[in-house]
Structure formats: C-alpha cells, structure tokens
Amino acid sequence: MFCCGYCTPEEEDSQDATSSKKNNSSLGKKMPMKLYYFDGRGTGEAIRQVFKLAGEDFEDVRFSMDEWPKHKADMPFGQIPVLEVDGMMIPQSAAIGRYVAKKFGLAGKTPTDQAWVDACVDQFKDHYTEINKWYYTALGFANHGDKESLYKSVYEPARDKFYDFLQKRLKKNGSGFLVENSATWADLLIADHMHTILQLKPDTLQRFPEMLAFKKRVEELPQIKKWIATRPKTPF
C-alpha cells in the first residue's frame, strides 16, 4: 500500500512485474529521494529545507493545480506532500520531515532531544489547526468569514499562547534554537511558517522580539539563505 503503486495487488507475487518497474536500477545506484508537492511552500517547504541544510540532493517535483487531480489516486492518503524512497511512498509532512531530518542528523541527537523536536512540531501543528479559519481565509483558500474579525478572534489569542511558549522554550534552551545547540527541522518548520504570517500581517509578531530574532537566525544559515534567494517565488 505504501509502495509506489506501480503494481496492483494481483501482481504482488510476480517478481518480474515488480522488479522491472522498481526505481533502483540493476547497477545498484541509489536514486535520490523524490518529494511530491504543490508549487508552493506550504507543508512541503520545511522538508525541502532539511535537504538544503544538509546539503543533500533530492528531486523537487511540483504539481500545478491542474496536474494534481491526475496524481491524487497514486498517493497513499490521497494527499501531498509524499516522499518516494526506493519505490516506497511515505505520506504526511511531519513523518517525512522526521524521516529525512533523522537521516541527515537534523532531528535531535538524543532520544529525549528528538522527543522535544517532535513536541515542538506537534505543538506547531495544533497551532496551525487553531488558526486555520483565519489563515486559509487570509490566503484565499477558503472563506470562513470576515478576514479582519477572524484575525482578532481566531489568530491573535492562538498566536499569543503559541509564541509565549516558544519564547519560554528558547530562553530555557539558551542556544538560539529550539532544541540543542544547532538548528533542527522544528526550527526550519516554524521559521518558514512565520515567513508566511509576516507576509499576511507584517506587524503581528512585534510583541515577540526573540521570535523575530529566531526567524532571522534560521534564515541566515548559509544553506537556507542561499535556498531562499534562489527558490521559486510563491505566494504560500
């Protein structure tokens, strides 16, 4: 089910049918991992940034809105991003982010550090769900009502709660990053989200100077700075 979908269930037992369609060539050369997402940052960007920060190659497949419906059925949960690794399809942005970050040493060094990275990512996901009605309306993906009143009733309280916790965490950790002494994928994910938020509402994080400094710190990482300067420019 998680495989690339080339073989239908009836072909599972046929070695010839599957091996001729596998990504790995018989020369044993490792194919780079392949990320399928939209032509945008969204939930795919942090994954791309993990590859970039690690200096690792990957195939950056971007579906247009017209192309996407034709590929939906190929994806394990009918959604993207999906990472293809040696013919196996891994869905869900956080599962992919963690898998890639772990491979390249950007997921936390000890088990408890890794749990903290996960906890920051999950807290961010909860925040993302909480602000969704305003966020999607502001980005033009949905219409849940008046943008300005949603900003006040939905975004502002969620923002204050979330960034208060993160600033507390940054202070406790003391390195300028959320976990350990260097950037992990949790830092990349949150800094990229802040980028979109500030595009929508440039003044909204004025109460959080440490978070603004944190965002700048992540964006100044040489590999990230280079990627930001050269990546496709997209509204989300």
Binding site: M1, F2, P9, E12, P76, F77, G78, L83, V85, D86, M88, I90, P91, Q92, S93, A94, A95, I96, R98, Y99, K102, K103, P111, T112, Q114, A115, W116, D118, A119, V121, D122, Q123, K125, T129, K161, F165, R169
Partner: protein, 206 residues
Amino acid sequence: MVHYKLHYFGLYARGEPIRQVFALAGQEFEDTRYSMEEWPQHKADMPFGQLPVLEVDGELLPQSMAILRFVGRRFGYAGKTDVEQAQVDAIADQFQDYFNEFKAYFVVAVGFAPGDKEQLFNSVMIPARNKMFQMLSQILRSNGTGFLVGDSVTYADLLLSIHVAGMDGLTPGFANDYPRLLEHRQRVESIPALKHYLETRPFAPF
C-alpha cells in the same frame, strides 16, 4: 533504572495509546491521573500547559504523539526499519487529522458542547469515518500480516484498535461495515500483555 511517570487525566483519549505501549513492553510506570479540580494547580508546571506529559527521570516531555513515538521506539513498537517507522508516523498523523475532522461531532457526543448529535453524526462523523476506515482497510489488506505496518504490532495498531473500541462504546456497531478493522481490533486486544491490561485497567468514559 529509568523512572517513567505519565501525567494525564482519568481518561483514555490521548493517554491510552501511551499506557498500552508500557503494557505491551511489560514496563512499569507511574500512571498519574489528575481530576478536573486538581489540574488547574498543575497547568503552569507543564511545558506547553497541557496534558499528557511524560516525565522521564525528571525531564518533562509534552505532546501525546511525541511521547507515543518516544516510548514506541524505545520499546520496539514503532516499526523495525527507518521506512517502517516513517509509515507508522504517517498513520499516526493521519489519525490526528481524522480526529480534527470529526471533533465537531465528538465534543457534542460526549457532552462537552451543545449541538445536534444526530445531524453531526451523519454530516461530519460518517464521511470522515468512511474515508479513514477505507484507507486503513486497504492498508491492512495490502500489508497482509494482520498489522498496519510490518509484521508485528506497532503504536499505529494501538491507535486504531483503541479508536474502534472507543467509538463502538459510544455508538455500538460503529465499525460493522469494516470487518477487517473488527478483526484487527480482536487481534490486537488478544495480545497476552494487552489482554491482561484491558481486564485490569481503571474504567474511563472515553
């Protein structure tokens, strides 16, 4: 000897999958359950002001899925290879999305919010359930081992069996259209360590 202390409410909800990993592993842990009256006094102690939190030798780890993955991996119930681990994570994340999808029905069904339970069941719960249960049945069918990932129980299986059991308690027959999932629940609940745990655990409404 590592000391584990789970801080949660007296509910299954977001704590039960974690408890069941400890049960499978035969690992002792302090199962702290806060009442609704006590909880406000402890809220400020928790890193993100919420429960569950797992205290591991004094360090407080928040977020239910981060905790579940931490204990799952530590005790070998999280997938055997890195790709399997990612697949287990993906199913767990899909569950979180699914829970968010039917939350509007759930809060009314358990009495946390006013609303038309029947109407929400039909408009919100059933479509979400069908989409998720079809995908999970398909995963079970293609994996072919009786478990969702690999050939042995992982916390993805626990999330599913706990959900099916819980929803069946709320609405008997909830998963009856999905025999593969009913069978899966039986299989998981018959694992000896879990069977014993289920017979002896404290009751919770959900």
